[in-house]
């Protein structure tokens, strides 16, 4: 139907209010089974009746029909034709549920199948009706107008009889709804209410040709015909309804019913009293935006008050007094307006009674529910979102908590279980506790379940405190019900409750005394319209960060500012306790409207790292807020913390809805606007969640490590000359020393500098490679290397960063002796240095010693290199091939064994820590096969501990080298090969130790 949507909304809102009252009354009725309260029945009757009337003329025929049947049943109860029992209440509740369902989507209500409901209710009516009533109901009485013409309406005898005696006059009223709505702004709802005050709507019709229903009704008149029974005379009806006489048709029933003797119990006269006391709560409906408007004005008044307080001359007692009063009144006004948004908890508590009743029936349990604090008020929006979690909790109590009566009796408890729900104010928050005196939570079962679902390991569970174990229930994917029932425990359980409570900025707490009770405690804020925020400033502008997202504030001083913020991949990170926290700089976020990509991230981290190295930052301290948004955590670097404040949230202008990083705006105490940051939006904007790398704390870090070992390598990026960027593998570096250019001494063609009391040779890149000369500035760095016996350092002008980079070196585009190859790192071509080759080029004589010890072999020896890291594999291969060995490579032990099956080798050089099959097991396996039992094997590892050494020899290695000292490695290789040659020629074989 094309009614004004706001009209439909009114109808729904009003009908739902009615339904809420009806439900409450029905349940109350059941409690007093023996003595029905006529008041309650009357009330229910009235409510159903007005739903029926309104629905009928909104065109929701199904709603109106269901209401009609219910009304009939109620009528019979009211007239004492039926003694109501719980069956009747059940039936009415079923009808009520159907109405609720249909009211949720009235537009499609006409398609809903209501047959079941009709059947249930009609059966009840049939059972209770005396044959006489049945007959009456089946007797249609045609209605006639003054000229004795038959009218469209029919009425059965029963309905006619149930009209109060006083209502002797029957009319058909014809309203033009379109006209009413347009010219007098009278909505159908209002109209019905008006009519019901002075009489009874027996039946109603809308007179529109069916095919026109969907077309535009706006301009056509919509005739609403009402069969109206009233005490009023025709003239009065005309003036009441503002209808002309021709639209009020006098009607007579063909057979005037015999006057029914008024039964003494009939509550009718009372019912007729306008507006029953409970219907009229002295309330009016106010649109929310009007309240928001009031809120805004009150806020503004506070500002004016603040300004006024500043200018008031405090010494003048009169002025001062007035100022104080203004102060008080303003505060009161603000609080009162806040209260207008508030609704009592009772609104949702009411529903719980019904739920408990239904479930206890279904489960054959006896459960009573007591609610305390129905009058405690809380913001409408919070109240609405609280309904579902609370329902779920209560269902849990009924299903899991309260035991069946037999079990309770055995445990020495009363067979009737009790659920107590209490709401109260405390510390500016609303607290809700739900307690059941059931069996409590079985901790062992919780743990067993957690283990079974793989949520926690057995060790973790063993160490858990009681409280922690209890909170497992709220972990996603947890349900302790032995069997999944349709009442609770559908696999999504407490975690959903927890999430919804947290979304409301609340918290949830569980406690359990096994065998006695389970209690759930909820804390909720009073309102969401005002949220506590941290006010921070960046580059002179203030921003509000919701406290809900805030975990902690961290401040770094002095050198920590430069050293504690590290780089992992593209992101800046901070190691907060054991957690790698990605860092986001708010000023950069604000500066860049486009979502960050890798280039942006690199740009930012590089920019700050350059600053860091050159200590350009003047600010010796840094503040960041640790923020949480969903599963993401990150540090937001801000300039300054101003304080915390409760701010009134205003939505962003609709033209700016696309901006991710703000969730709203607010007016600060000084009248200026501050933006409220959307923490989740910032995380998305700054690409924090890329690759999901920081989701679960330890696992991801482990994963990352493994990832690194496989095909990437940490390298130090540095610059010497103006242009080129160099890289050198981090494991080869001992340290980087800060030096002064002026301290370098020239001796002959060589340059030396004193480091740790030792004269150290300074090697310049431009002397060995075809690159631009090192920048001549006073502050420079000297790179000292591991595994080099002679004092020796490479001069560089700038340390760029340490990065993890995949090492697939390009040797085609540019190659020079002394390089391993090139790769693009951070968008720049980077030269990877072969440090040993460089030294070799610089100081040939350093390596002569080894060469004499290992004379070049007459025939090429074949060496198998087993190494998982691509970088080291290439490096080793390069070194060995340079010595004229033939090299085959394998990625792990397994791979190596496969190769050995088809190839003969003279020597094996193997890494120890490798995936799939490590070096030790590789050797053990190898030595078991006779063919390979005497191939010499050299172990390579990064770890130099005695334990490793022993284990290594035990598994069958002949030698042991630490990664990666080229000189020693080659010497060892040569020695082992010689031993092998020797052992073949002479005997016995000697193992080097």
């Amino acid at each position: 139907m094309s009614f004004d949507p706001s009209l439909t909304d009114d109808f729904i809102a009003e009908s739902k209010e009615h339904l809420a009252i009806i439900e409450k009354d029905l349940l109350a009725m059941e409690d007093y089974e023996d003595s029905i309260i006529p008041d309650a029945i009357g009330e229910i009757f009235r409510s159903i009746h007005s739903i029926k009337g309104a629905a009928g003329f909104m065109g929701f025929t199904q709603i109106s029909e269901v209401a009609h049947v219910m009304e009939t049943l109620l009528q019979m109860i009211r007239d004492n034709t039926i003694q109501p029992n719980s069956q009747h209440v059940d039936g009415l509740l079923v009808g009520l549920d159907m109405l609720t369902t249909m009211l949720d989507a009235p537009q499609s209500s006409n398609e809903i199948d209501t047959q079941d409901v009709h059947t249930i209710l009609s059966n009840l009516i049939d059972e209770g009706s005396s044959p006489q009533i049945k007959a009456e109901m089946e007797t249609a009485i045609p209605l006639l107008d003054n000229e004795k013409n038959r009218l469209e309406f029919e009425i059965n005898e029963f309905e006619l009889k149930k009209l109060p005696d006083s209502h002797t006059n029957l009319f058909i009223l014809k309203f033009d709804l379109t006209l009413l709505a347009k010219e007098k702004a009278i909505s159908p709802v209002i109209l019905v209410n008006e009519l019901m005050k002075a009489g009874i709507i027996v039946d109603a019709k809308i007179d529109t040709p069916a095919q026109n229903l969907s077309s535009n009704l706006e301009d056509e008149s919509l005739i609403y015909q009402v069969l109206y029974s009233t005490i009023l005379e025709r003239d009065l009806v005309c003036s009441l309804t503002n209808l002309t006489k021709k639209d009020v048709i006098d009607v007579t029933a063909e057979k005037k019913p015999k006057p029914v003797a008024p039964s003494p119990s009939s509550p009718l006269p009372k019912e007729k009293m306008p507006d029953g006391d409970r219907n009229n709560n002295d309330t009016i409906r106010i649109p929310l935006n009007l309240l928001d408007e009031l809120m805004t004005l009150a806020g503004e008044l506070v500002l004016v008050r603040n300004q006024q307080l500043l200018t008031v001359n405090k010494s003048d007692p009169i002025v001062h007094g007035i100022a104080q009063r203004l102060d008080l009144v303003t505060t009161d006004l603000q609080e009162t307006i806040m209260r207008t948004r508030m609704q009592p908890m009772g609104n949702i508590f009411g529903k719980l009674h019904r739920i408990v009743r239904d479930i206890s029936r279904k489960l054959n349990k006896q459960i009573e529910i007591i609610t305390v604090g129905d009058e405690v008020e809380l913001d409408k929006s919070i109240l609405e979102s609280l309904g579902d979690p609370l329902t779920h909790l209560v269902r849990n109590c009924c299903d899991h908590g309260i035991e069946p009566p037999e079990e309770r009796e055995q445990a020495g408890k009363s067979p009737k279980g009790l659920i107590t729900i209490k709401a109260y104010h405390e510390a500016g928050q609303i607290n809700v506790t739900i307690v059941d005196n059931g069996r409590g939570i079985n901790l062992e079962r919780v743990k067993a379940k957690a283990l079974e679902n793989g949520l926690k390991s057995a060790e973790e569970l063993a160490q858990m405190k009681e409280k922690e174990a209890l909170s497992l229930i709220m972990a996603p994917g947890f349900s302790t019900a032995k069997e999944v029932s349709d009442i609770s425990g559908r696999g999504v359980g407490m975690d959903v409750v927890k999430t919804s409570i947290e979304q409301l900025s609340g918290s949830i707490n569980l406690e359990s005394k096994p065998g006695q009770e389970t209690s759930v405690h909820l804390s909720l804020p009073l309102t969401l319209a005002i949220i506590p925020c941290l006010i921070a400033s960046v580059e002179g502008h203030r921003y509000a960060i919701p406290q809900v997202n805030l975990e902690e504030l961290v401040r770094l001083y002095d050198d920590d500012v430069y050293t504690k913020i590290e780089c992992a991949g593209d992101h800046e990170v901070y190691r907060l306790r054991d957690y790698l926290l990605p860092m986001v700089r708010l000023n950069e976020v604000l500066r860049r409207p486009k979502t960050f990509n890798e280039t942006t991230l690199t740009e930012i981290s590089e920019h700050y790292h350059n600053q860091k190295i050159q200590k350009e930052m003047h600010n010796p301290s840094m503040t960041f807020a640790v923020l949480k948004a969903g599963s993401k955590r990150f540090g937001l670097i801000i300039d300054q913390v101003i304080g915390t404040e409760e701010v009134v949230v205003k939505p962003m202008h609709s033209k700016l809805n696309e901006l991710l990083i703000y969730s709203g705006a607010t007016v600060m105490g000084d009248g200026k606007v501050a933006l409220i940051l959307d923490v989740d939006g910032i995380a998305r904007h700054s690409h924090i969640d890329a690759e999901n790398r920081l989701h679960s704390e330890e696992e991801s870090e482990l994963h990352q490590k493994r990832h690194v070992e496989k095909d990437s390598q940490a390298v130090l990026l540095f610059k010497s000359g103006k242009h080129e960027q160099f890289a050198i593998a981090l494991p080869l570096i001992r340290r980087v020393e800060r030096i002064k250019m002026s301290q370098i001494e020239q001796i002959g063609e060589k340059q030396f500098i004193e480091i740790d009391g030792v004269s150290t040779l300074v090697l310049r890149m431009e002397d060995q490679l075809n690159v631009s000369p090192c920048l001549e500035k006073e502050d420079a760095f000297l790179l000292l290397l591991k595994h080099i016996k002679r004092p020796f350092g490479i001069l560089l002008s700038q340390v760029v960063d340490v990065v993890e980079t995949t090492v697939h070196l390009n040797v085609e585009s540019y190659m020079e002796d002394g390089l391993l190859g090139t790769a693009i790192v951070r968008g720049q071509m980077t030269l990877f240095i072969d440090i040993f080759r460089l030294i070799e080029k610089a100081e040939l004589d350093w390596f002569k010693e080894r060469q004499t010890h290992s004379p070049p072999p007459e025939e090429q020896k074949h060496i198998l290199v087993v190494e998982d890291t691509v970088f080291f594999r290439h490096l080793l291969q390069g070194y060995l091939e340079a010595e004229h060995y033939q090299v085959t490579t394998a990625e792990n032990g397994q791979h190596a064994l496969e190769i050995l099956n088809g190839t003969s080798v003279d020597l094996i050089v193997s890494d120890l820590m490798m995936p799939v099959m490590d070096g030790w097991s590789f050797l053990e396996k190898l030595r078991k096969q006779e063919a390979f039992s005497d191939i010499p094997a050299l172990a390579l590892t990064g770890q130099d501990t005695d334990l490793d050494r022993e284990k290594t020899y035990a598994s069958g290695f002949n030698g042991y080298e630490i990664k990666i000292n080229r000189e020693d490695l080659l010497t060892q290789v040569a020695q082992l090969l010689q031993v092998e040659v020797a052992s073949k020629e002479t005997s016995p074989m000697m193992l080097p130790v």
Binding site: H653, K655, L656, L659, Y662, V667, K672, V673, A674, L675
Partner: protein, 162 residues
């Protein structure tokens, strides 16, 4: 909406315009669209918003979006100076917003038949600098005694952000 507009113009024959200066030129909007004019120019910048958005301004508890009208019309960015004002529009014109102008002028009464409708005739010399999308903001042009007055359609200003 259109009907109402033309009605009000036809019925009266004259129209009152709030005028203001932008980069030296005279512009105006229908006075019935204007809620108020404020001297308050301390905006809160909104990073990531389009360039034409100068920021948020609080006017008695209501947050208004302030647009740079110079930028919207294709002139340079407005420098906020002593004469700068913000013209705020009524809610019927669009969700709470205002425009920053260089200087506020008089209220000018224009006869309906003096207004050359934008759509009817090509744009005059003075506003050649407008690009195509910006011309859509113009409602009409009117020759005053000394200079040209360009009447803007205030209802289209917010839309120019898209």
């Amino acid at each position: 909406m259109k009907r109402q507009e033309t009605e009000s113009i036809h019925n009266k024959n004259t129209q009152l315009s709030t005028t203001f200066r932008l980069s030296g030129r005279l512009f105006g909007v229908n006075i019935t669209d204007v809620k108020e004019i404020t001297m308050e120019t301390s905006f809160t910048p909104i990073f990531h918003a389009p360039e034409e958005v100068r920021g948020y301004l609080n006017i008695r508890g209501h947050i208004h979006l302030v647009l740079d009208l110079n930028l919207l019309l294709g002139f340079g960015k407005t420098e906020v100076e002593a004469d700068s004002r913000v013209v705020l529009f009524k809610p019927s014109v669009g969700e709470s917003f205002g425009v920053l102008v260089d200087q506020i002028g008089d209220v000018v009464e224009v006869k309906e038949n003096q207004i050359k409708k934008q759509s009817e005739e090509p744009v005059g010399k003075d506003i050649n600098s407008f690009n195509h999308t910006k011309t859509k903001l113009t409602h009409g042009i009117c020759q005053l005694d000394k200079e040209l007055l360009v009447l803007l359609n205030s209802k289209k200003l917010l839309g120019a952000l898209d």
